[in-house]
């Protein structure tokens, strides 16, 4: 098996995650899909690290994880306060910026 298959898997997961972002209304699920996209990227980084024979890709993946952790903290806080004020976690309900 050629390790390039990991890349195909990564692209597939990324696309699934992106589509999920577009079709789900629940903000938490949307957020999970974003995590899925980030993980797909990490897989690609790790694969590239193996491909090139150095650890830089793994370092980048590591940083991605850290940033993702920070993002999750803030994002979930936003969702919680949104839910508090609107009693709903639907992203469509927060559509006041239209006429």
């Amino acid at each position: 098996m050629n390790p390039v298959n990991y890349l195909y898997l990564s692209a597939l997961l990324f696309t699934i995650g992106a589509t999920g972002v577009l079709i789900r209304r629940n903000a938490i699920v949307v957020f999970m899909c974003i995590e899925l996209m980030l993980n797909a990227c990490n897989l690609a980084f790790v694969t590239f690290s193996r491909m090139h024979g150095n650890l830089d890709g793994q370092v980048i993946a590591f940083f991605t994880m850290v940033v993702a952790a920070a993002e999750v903290v803030v994002g979930l806080a936003i969702i919680v306060s949104l839910f508090r004020s609107r009693h709903s976690a639907s992203v469509d309900d927060a559509s006041l910026m239209k006429l």
Partner: protein, 648 residues
């Protein structure tokens, strides 16, 4: 000595400022302030005249640079005064006649509670008119031109409580605006052609300019002259302007302001000399107006309106002479001066008659007044003899010269113009004799008559002292009114002879206007003889119609021409049909175009933008997921573009 020119203008201007700003505390002395300042101005004029006479003919020009008005690069307008023989003539006429009429007004307006204001306006007029004639450039002349227009408007509408006076003032102002527009366009053309407004450079630069441009300037100047001097086709305001107090009619609408057009044409003589087409237009306007005014004058029963028609006609003579070129300039001015005397005298006489007749203006309700107001009769009679050209009086000399000059134009034009002038002389004799006979001779038709005619709803405060339907008691006017009349009568009698004997006036004015003798196909003696014949015919017909037969107190229906002439030869109807209706149609069509085309384009643009925005707005539905789709689609397109670029 030059500094006196500014004082000449400043004296009446000061009077106007003091009288108009001074308020009621000046009511008691206001009229004397105005009169004294007018005489002061006249005194300055006389001093300057003496100074000019002391110089030799070629150096009789005084220039005074007062200040730079608009000092802009490439656009220099100065307040500079120029006093040469032409201006001097006008200054003496304006201040002289003006002062006398001020004096007369002291008596005439005695019972008017707004007399102070009246004198303020009169002084304002004097200042503006003097500015007009001593200006050294066309722009400053324009200031004076508008100033006299303003004063004329204010004075015609002086009794503004009368709707007819207010309307007449508005009419005069509006018609004058048309002419003023001509003058302003002419000034703009001058600036683009010569780069300056000053008389010297403009008139000297004529030789280097194309005839087409000069013709355009000349025609615009003619339009201006038509407006100010009540010439066809802008003549309609003068008759209505008689709604103003009689001294105003005498000063502004007979002696001075209406002659400003003649001044403008003579002053711009160099331009007209180089533009024969414009000159021809001037003569045509003059000839048409002199007949037009004369015919109107024949039919009017209102004494002031008859005199107004006469004024129009006489100015037509002047314009005709001015249009003849160097042959006629001097005679135009000479007739202007003599006309200033006798027409002012006639108007003052008419005012005196009205003063004695409870402001009645209808001549059919006069008659036999010579016994009751002898001074008025004599002065009016002398003015009458002067205007019809009775041998020896001033009108004889000046008008005769114009008729000669018209023949001297030569060719067919000369015959036509000369013929028109001769015919005019005959009609002048007719209508003036008619006025004379109806007013001072015949039976006393004013007895057992209600004083107020419906067409002259006079509300002059003077009338309030008499009963509503009291029979008038004709009486001579006070001395303060008769003295100016006597002085003007003296001028009417001797002015012409004084100017003409030894060609004094010709020699005086020639350095400014130039002069040439035309080649007349008929001798001067023949023309004089023909004029005399016309005079006798005119007087004879008038005597046959009004002297031997009693004058009906109610005007007969009259012939078609008479009826048309009573309506000012349908000038107002013409204006109404052509200008008012035409204007309305034009406006309506423009409004239609504006509503459909212009608004259509504007509204269409707005509507299409609005519609497009309405559709675009649906993209902005506020849902984050829709925006995410756009973003994701954009990312997909970017990836596709990148791959495509790599593949290529």
């Amino acid at each position: 000595m030059e500094n006196l020119i500014a004082l000449l203008v400043a004296a009446p201007l000061l009077g106007a400022a003091v009288l108009l700003c001074g308020g009621r505390r000046l009511d008691a002395v206001g009229h004397w302030i105005g009169t004294v300042l007018a005489f002061v101005s006249f005194a300055f004029g006389v001093i300057l005249f003496a100074d000019l006479l002391g110089k030799d003919a070629e150096h009789r020009t005084l220039m005074q640079h007062l200040f730079s008005w608009v000092p802009v690069e490439g656009f220099q307008a100065d307040v500079t005064f120029r006093l040469d023989q032409l201006s001097m003539t006008f200054v003496l006429l304006i201040t002289g006649v003006g002062s006398l009429i001020h004096l007369y007004s002291v008596g005439y307006m005695e019972h008017d509670e707004r007399r102070r204001r009246f004198f303020g306006y009169l002084n304002l007029f004097l200042a503006a008119m003097l500015l007009l004639v001593v200006a050294d450039n066309y722009l400053l002349l324009y200031v004076g031109w508008e100033g006299v227009g303003l004063a004329s408007y204010l004075l015609i509408g002086f009794w503004q409580h009368k709707p007819s006076a207010a309307t007449a003032a508005k009419k005069a102002f509006l018609v004058n605006r048309v002419g003023d527009m001509g003058l302003s366009i002419a000034i703009m053309l001058m600036f683009t052609t010569f780069g300056t407004f000053a008389f010297g450079p403009v008139l000297d630069g004529v030789g280097d300019t194309s005839e087409g441009k000069l013709t355009a300037i000349g025609l615009m100047l003619l339009l201006a002259a038509c407006g100010k001097s009540a010439q066809v086709p802008l003549q309609s305001w003068l008759g209505d302007a008689m709604e103003g107090p009689t001294p105003v009619s005498a000063l502004i609408h007979a002696a001075t302001m209406v002659t400003a057009g003649v001044y403008l044409i003579v002053r711009s003589g160099a331009i007209f000399n180089a533009a024969p087409d414009a000159q021809l237009a001037v003569t045509v306007v003059g000839a048409v107006t002199l007949l037009f005014g004369a015919i109107v004058g024949c039919a009017k029963d209102d004494i002031k309106k008859a005199l107004a028609g006469s004024t129009m006609s006489q100015i037509g003579y002047m314009i005709l002479a001015a249009g003849l070129g160097p042959i006629g300039y001097v005679f135009a001015i000479m007739h202007l001066v003599t006309h200033g005397f006798f027409k002012a005298g006639l108007f003052l006489g008419a005012g005196s008659v009205m003063h004695g007749m409870n402001d009645e203006v209808d001549m059919r309700k006069y008659g036999g007044l010579r016994k009751y107001m002898p001074v008025t009769f004599i002065t009016f009679g002398l003015g009458y003899l002067a205007i019809i050209g009775f041998p020896g009086l001033s009108g004889f000399f000046s008008k005769d010269k114009i008729i000669e000059a018209a023949f001297a134009k030569g060719g067919t034009e000369g015959w036509i113009l000369g013929g028109a002038a001769l015919l005019g002389a005959a009609i002048t004799a007719f209508y003036m004799t008619r006025v004379m006979l109806m007013t001072f001779f015949g039976e006393e038709r004013w007895r057992n008559q209600p004083t107020r005619s419906p067409e002259a709803p006079s509300a002059e405060p003077v009338a309030e002292h008499h009963g509503e339907h009291a029979e008038p008691h004709p009486h001579e006017s006070p001395k303060v009114m008769t003295i100016p009349m006597i002085l003007l009568a003296v001028g009417s009698v001797f002015g012409g002879a004084f100017f003409s004997i030894g060609d004094r006036f010709l020699h005086w004015l020639e350095p400014v206007t130039g002069h040439s003798e035309g080649d007349s196909p008929v001798s001067a003696a023949t023309v004089t003889g023909a004029t005399m014949v016309c005079l006798i015919i005119g007087v004879g017909i008038a005597y046959a119609m009004y002297g031997r037969r009693p004058v009906p107190a109610v005007a007969p229906r009259g012939s078609l021409l008479t009826r048309a002439a009573r309506r000012d030869l349908l000038q107002d109807d013409f204006n109404h049909v052509v200008l008012v209706r035409g204007g309305e149609h034009l406006t309506r069509s423009l409004v239609y175009v504006d509503h459909t085309l212009v608004d259509g384009v504007v509204n269409g643009t707005a509507a299409s933008v609005g519609g497009l925005s309405g559709r675009m707005r649906r993209l902005q539905n506020g849902f984050a997921r829709s925006y995410a789709v756009s973003m994701f689609g954009g990312a997909a397109v970017l990836v596709a573009a990148t791959l495509l670029m790599r593949a290529v």
